[in-house]
């Protein structure tokens, strides 16, 4: 089930607060569409820290690589990417999945390792909501 904008808006303030804490930055910089890497300077250790904080706050589990796995959905790995580069189908799937990311940020061709550069605070709101829904009775 897709998250509604209302659900995202509800948890955004807490996700923004945790993001600001993890990155040690002013919360005013944490806008819904800010790229964590390009705009907020996040690095891999920051992602681990943010995920830890989100898991504890929202009582969810976010396994490593979960966003990419969710984005791939029912596409096989071969349908999604070839030698580390997204296929046309993979790129379209990713654009639809990360609908919160402005279209101009998607590169063609796009490598799988570049996907985290697209992640915004809203991306993390959506992953929290998905993981909550995944364990809901």
């Amino acid at each position: 089930m897709d998250s509604t904008q209302e659900q995202i808006n509800t948890i955004f303030p807490k996700v923004a607060e945790l993001t600001a804490d993890a990155l040690a930055i002013d919360i005013a910089r944490v806008t819904p569409t800010a790229s964590l890497i390009d705009d907020l300077g996040a690095e891999s250790i920051d992602f681990l820290d943010l995920v830890f904080r989100l898991e504890r706050e929202f009582n969810v589990k976010i396994p490593h690589g979960q966003i990419t796995v969710d984005a791939r959905g029912d596409l096989s790995v071969a349908e999604f990417e070839e030698k580390g580069v997204l296929t046309d189908a993979g790129l379209e799937r990713l654009k639809a999945f990360l609908s919160e990311v402005p279209a101009e940020r998607f590169k063609t061709p796009m490598r799988v390792v570049e996907i985290p550069k697209l992640f915004t605070t809203e991306t993390f709101c959506k992953v929290v909501l998905r993981q909550q829904q995944a364990v809901a009775p």
């Binding site: 690095e43 681990l48 490593h64």
Partner: protein, 250 residues
């Protein structure tokens, strides 16, 4: 009777690599084992099932060892489950692999808090639970003594860890708590896969280590086990090299 029968042990970072091997070794020796982990949920579940399969009690707690509040929260559960503790292995570590000239204050804090401060926090939390004495073992690496490319802050944190262990050994000695370090050579764990010079590190170890070309997580776990034995009662403040003799070879 197993050598550590009925003891209660805690291993941080116990889901993978050296931590996992240590948790399994201590369980095999008779310990009930608690695991502290950061993000590896599935791996934590798997290692606990393996330990339970040996007939021991096992459980995993998620915590950030570099954050004293997070560790204190984990200890609420730990006290409830175990009451007392006999063995603590401070193994969890993090790192930023970059040249020193590119590292920042943020990196310093994260690496030092996770790799060095955690030992002090653990000691403060476990000492009251070690009423009959106990063993604290910290896992270090060759970077504490040698300049390894891209390893600057991790190496500094390991040097700090070893120094801190000596101070804790001195302070906690009268309470029957022994504090030692196992300094591991190049072990091909998941952590090493992130090293740009992984092949060179493993190759150099294979070429120089007189005890054999390959060092495994189990070899390091065996070193920890030795320091936890009753026979190691008079060993404290020591750094035990488990590197197949690599570091003594010119």
């Amino acid at each position: 009777m197993r050598p550590l029968e009925g003891k209660h042990a805690l291993v941080t970072g116990g889901t993978r690599g050296i931590g996992r091997a240590t948790a399994l070794k201590l369980a095999c020796a008779g310990c009930n084992v608690a695991i502290v982990y950061y993000n590896s949920h599935q791996e934590a579940e798997t290692v606990c099932l393996e330990i339970e399969g040996m007939g021991r009690k096992a459980f995993a707690i998620q915590a950030d060892v570099g954050n004293p509040d997070s560790l204190a929260e984990a200890f609420v559960t730990l006290k409830k489950e175990f009451g007392e503790l006999d063995i603590v292995v401070s193994n969890a570590a993090t790192g930023v692999l970059r040249p020193a000239m590119e590292l920042t204050l943020k990196h310093w804090r994260k690496v030092m808090e996770t790799n060095a401060l955690a030992l002090n926090t653990l000691a403060q939390l476990v000492a009251p639970m070690m009423t009959k004495g106990g063993r604290i073992v910290a896992i270090s690496s060759l970077g504490s003594m040698r300049a390894i490319p891209q390893y600057a802050f991790i190496g500094a944190s390991k040097a700090a860890l070893e120094s801190l262990a000596r101070s804790l050994a001195q302070e906690l000695g009268p309470r029957g708590i022994r504090v030692n370090v196992v300094n591991a050579g190049a072990v091909d764990t998941d952590a090493l896969k992130h090293f740009p010079n992984r092949e060179a590190l493993l190759g150099e170890h294979a070429r120089k280590a007189p005890a054999g070309p390959t060092l495994t997580p189990e070899d390091v776990a065996n070193g920890v086990f030795l320091l936890c034995l009753p026979e190691a009662e008079m060993i404290t403040g020591h750094t035990l090299m488990v590197d197949g003799g690599y570091s003594i070879s010119g």
